[in-house]
């Protein structure tokens, strides 16, 4: 079992990505903190924060790939789980402000004082403790995903319909969090954070630490995702993706498999959100916007759906491009993003990794040793021809 897992899951690209992440987790903070600012290898703090942000996006993309790439569930609402995790962390950070807020209230965050609230709402209790906040950042998205998935998968809501109702879910949450009565800061959200675990969120060391945490969380999630997709359960998930009805007729409880991976994916997204908020310093209802979820889907598509490593590359690349474009050519960015959507779906259905794999396959006369693992990593999307024919006949 373990051997199979290693052989089937840990391909070259994945190992390389894991090594890269671990190295970055150590090297980037060192290059930022230990070297003097004029050293050519010094990494400036803003770059550390920016890369940390990209890594949280990459974690979101990885979560999305787990459900879309391996289970065929195209979620247009993953930003909702991301934002919920972010809000859980934001609540912890708000509670750490203490008397340093504008109104200096020891218990109530500024916006509550402003709204003339007298005491902390019950759902804010406990968020002054970091472990509780982290548990909530995982549990709340997980619970929402569990309940949502429980109903949706049991009723066999699939394909486009599922995509549309996930979009409705995040839209409903967007509207809800805009309301002041919700007790999450309404329009402005939660911001003006001071400390995390007693360290100032502004300081270089904290920022480097958050970067390292993001890289480690991403690496750990990647290992988890490899383990899930490489296991027998992962094979069933792929079967569900390629021929759901047939898998059901073979006796698998399809909805249980889907629910499991869906919930795990939501918790990963929640963790990503929790790491994202202290690095950008704000969480507001805009994070729930359906457009954000759809943008996350394109990260996955660019990198290569169903490859686990691809979405990480895609998220970093697309967001790097976004940062560059919005600074240098803000007018052009939406054109570029829109064209990317169209071009990737039309010309790169398997993403960058898929392109690389097919280029490698084109190179002849190298030793014929494309392992089955490479195939499953590189091109798992199209069902086998026989399968496709049968599916069409259903």
């Amino acid at each position: 079992m373990m051997v199979r897992f290693l052989a089937g899951g840990l391909t070259g690209t994945r190992l390389a990505m894991l090594a890269l992440l671990l190295a970055a987790a150590v090297l980037v903070p060192v290059l930022n903190l230990a070297l003097p600012t004029d050293h050519p290898l010094h990494v400036p703090t803003y770059a550390v924060t920016l890369m940390g942000k990209y890594l949280t996006y990459a974690l979101l993309a990885l979560a999305l790939d787990l459900v879309w790439g391996y289970c065929g569930i195209l979620s247009l609402g993953h930003a909702a789980f991301f934002a919920l995790g972010g809000y859980a962390m934001g609540m912890y950070l708000m509670r750490q402000i203490g008397t340093r807020g504008v109104y200096g209230d020891p218990v109530l965050p500024d916006f509550m004082v402003f709204l003339n609230w007298k005491e902390l709402p019950w759902y804010w209790s406990g968020f002054d403790a970091f472990p509780f906040a982290i548990v909530m950042a995982l549990a709340v998205p997980g619970l929402l995903a569990f309940v949502f998935g429980w109903f949706a998968f049991r009723s066999r809501v699939t394909g486009v319909y599922l995509s549309i109702i996930t979009q409705a879910m995040t839209y409903a949450l967007l509207l809800a969090f805009f309301r002041n009565d919700m007790g999450f800061g309404g329009n402005n959200g939660l911001t003006d954070f001071k400390d995390i675990l007693g360290y100032s969120v502004q300081s270089d060391a904290t920022r480097a630490g958050l970067f390292a945490a993001s890289a480690l969380a991403l690496a750990a999630s990647l290992v988890l995702a490899i383990a899930i997709t490489g296991s027998k359960l992962g094979k069933v998930l792929i079967a569900v993706r390629d021929a759901e009805s047939r898998t059901r007729f073979l006796g698998y409880r399809v909805e249980h498999y889907k629910l499991f991976v869906w919930t795990v994916s939501a918790m990963m997204a929640g963790l990503a959100g929790a790491l994202y908020v202290p690095q950008v310093g704000i969480i507001n209802p805009g994070e729930f916007a359906p457009a954000n979820s759809i943008e996350a889907v394109i990260w996955v598509a660019v990198g290569g759906r169903g490859t686990l490593v691809g979405p990480i590359i895609g998220a970093v690349l697309v967001n790097f491009a976004k940062s560059w474009f919005t600074a240098a050519l803000p007018e052009i960015w939406l054109f570029a993003l829109g064209t990317l959507f169209v071009a990737v779906t039309l010309f790169l259905p398997k993403g960058i990794l898929g392109l690389a794999a097919s280029l490698r396959a084109r190179l002849p006369k190298r030793k014929d040793k494309t392992s089955p693992a490479d195939v499953s990593a590189g091109a798992p999307i199209a069902p086998a021809p026989a399968l496709a024919r049968n599916q069409a006949a259903e």
Binding site: T158, V160, Y161, S163, I165, M169, R179, L337, F341, L346
Partner: protein
């Protein structure tokens, strides 16, 4: 002006003769005026004497003369413009002009010499007096020749609940020929009776009249009776209150239904094009909202052309905008279908992503060309204004949009059911390969169907430009609602879209009073999410094998 140079010599003489002939007449009439004024003058001058109570009596006396000549004086009194000249105790109307007051005679209206403020005493009024005056003015204008003036007078008495006005009203009702005004006068009389010391039977009858009126004013008047110590009226008042509240509830319901249908018509317009592209063709067109936006911007362009070239014909601009928007959005739609969607056949999720990319490009294109701000789109005359049915105010633009949405729906239904093109579309939808085998050019049908759906989104944009901000983000605000409507109604079923749009609109408006606008919307979304669990294919699902494909 040298008339004499051209006129015969006798003209001056003629003119003189005419003037001489007129003189006695003029003298006569001014004498008559002077005579009336002579009778009124003491009454007016008496306004300046005594306490508030005395002034009130004088106002009533003036009202009793029934002479319209006293109206300016009374109006000046309520406005605090009536003064007593200290020198001769004459009452005058004063208007502030610089440091002094420009005086006019209250009866004749002729200008008098300006006087310093110190030489005048202002006649002061209190609220009680103001009410009396208002009622007196009402009584004076109840017999006016103009129906609108009479209506206003009756309304003034109704509002003031002036018991003094009852006799004037009785006489006016007797003489009234306009049934609407007469009804209003009876209601005003009932309101006045309630405030008077008339016997209980009269008051009960009055309560009955007011209950029939049934609006909020009547409600507050009867509530006042209910709370007063006149216990013999409580029973009648209670019954009337119950009646009014029932009536109010009925009107509230009607209002909610109307607002709901109005919202529903907007949803229908936004969703109906999607019902073709998504519902019939199964293409997830995320750029649908941008087609609506293109339609709205086309309207803006057409109106600009009208403004610069034919401002007189501005009211017809929408008639030109409709086909223009259909063509613009339709052609863009055909372009999208030919350029992108046809390559993604049977890959709905990829289509979703690609069309989302198209929507981003279109948004940014419009933003680059027209700028990010809202564009000014005008309402033609026939779409502005409102009318009332009972207690329901209906604005013309909402009414037209409802009519328009239903017209578009009907036209589309007919096109799909009874035309050759509709037959082809349905054939391709049901079985593409069989349709192709029968000689239908499926690629052409695909392109035209997508163009039709997009074009209809475009003309929806023309209508929505009349009630919404025309900005590059216009489309995004409708896309989720549109998908909700189509999914709720059942894919592939135009009737389902109609029912879904209207029921979601009405449900939203009925929830709003309890939950607030945002929460109502959230509740509707949650309801749809739950509903999809129960019926994954919508209200009116297609049955049979096609469902699983």
């Amino acid at each position: 002006m040298n008339v004499n140079a051209y006129a015969p010599r006798s003209l001056p003489a003629l003119l003189l003769a005419m003037l001489l002939a007129l003189l006695p007449l003029a003298l006569l009439s001014s004498a008559a005026g002077a005579q009336d004024n002579a009778a009124l003058r003491p009454l007016i001058d008496a306004l300046g004497q005594g306490s508030f109570g005395d002034t009130e009596k004088q106002v009533s006396a003036l009202a009793a003369t029934g002479d319209a000549a006293v109206v300016p004086a009374l109006e000046a009194l309520t406005n605090g413009d009536l003064y007593v000249r200290k020198a001769d105790k004459a009452v005058v109307i004063g208007k502030r002009a610089g440091g002094s007051l420009a005086l006019t005679d209250p009866l004749t209206g002729e200008a008098l010499e300006s006087t310093a403020t110190s030489a005048l005493d202002k006649i002061r009024v209190n609220n009680r007096l103001r009410r009396t005056i208002r009622a007196a003015l009402g009584g004076l204008t109840l017999r006016a020749a103009d129906a609108t003036t009479r209506r206003q007078a009756a309304e003034a008495i109704f509002k003031a609940q002036d018991a003094e006005g009852i006799e004037a009203l009785d006489a006016a009702i007797e003489a009234e020929t306009n049934p609407g005004v007469a009804k209003l006068m009876r209601e005003a009389r009932a309101a006045a009776v309630l405030a008077s010391d008339r016997p209980t039977e009269d008051k009960i009858a009055a309560i009955g009249t007011l209950a029939e009126r049934g609006d909020r004013d009547a409600l507050s008047m009867i509530t006042a009776v209910q709370n007063s110590e006149a216990s013999d009226l409580h029973e009648a008042a209670g019954a009337a209150l119950a009646r009014i509240e029932k009536l109010q509830a009925a009107w509230d319901t009607a209002r909610n239904v109307w607002f709901g249908l109005s919202l529903g018509s907007v949803l229908l317009l936004a969703a109906i094009g999607l019902a073709i592209t998504f519902g019939v063709m199964g293409v997830i067109n995320m750029a649908h909202g941008e087609m609506v936006m293109l339609g709205a911007y086309t309207t803006f362009m057409v109106q600009n052309l009208f403004r610069t070239h034919a401002p007189d014909l501005f009211d017809y601009s929408l008639l030109v905008a409709l086909p223009a928007a259909f063509l613009v959005a339709g052609l863009v739609g055909v372009g999208i279908e030919r350029g992108i969607i046809r390559f993604l056949h049977n890959r709905p999720l990829e289509t979703l992503l690609a069309t989302w990319g198209v929507s981003l490009i279109l948004q940014q294109a419009v933003r680059s060309i027209f700028g990010p701000t809202n564009q000014e789109v005008g309402n033609p005359a026939f779409m502005s204004g409102a009318f009332e049915i009972g207690q329901l105010t209906i604005t013309y633009n909402r009414l037209w949009i409802l009519v328009f949405a239903l017209t578009v729906f009907a036209a589309l239904l007919i096109a799909m059911k009874f035309t050759r093109f509709g037959l082809n579309v349905r054939a391709v939808t049901q079985n593409r390969r069989m349709a192709a085998s029968m000689g239908i050019r499926t690629p052409l049908v695909d392109a035209l169907t997508f163009g039709l759906g997009s074009g209809i989104a475009g003309i929806a944009g023309v209508a929505l430009s009349q009630i919404d901000n025309v900005s590059p983000n216009l489309g995004q605000s409708y896309i989720i609602d549109s998908f909700m409507v189509v999914v709720f109604g059942g894919v592939g079923n135009l009737w389902g879209t109609l029912v879904a749009a209207m029921s979601l609109g009405v449900a939203n408006k009925f929830l709003e009073p309890f939950a607030g606008a945002v929460l109502a919307k959230i509740l509707v979304l949650v309801f749809i999410i739950l509903f999809i669990q129960k019926r994954p294919r919508g209200l009116f699902a297609l049955k049979g094998r096609a469902v699983e494909a």
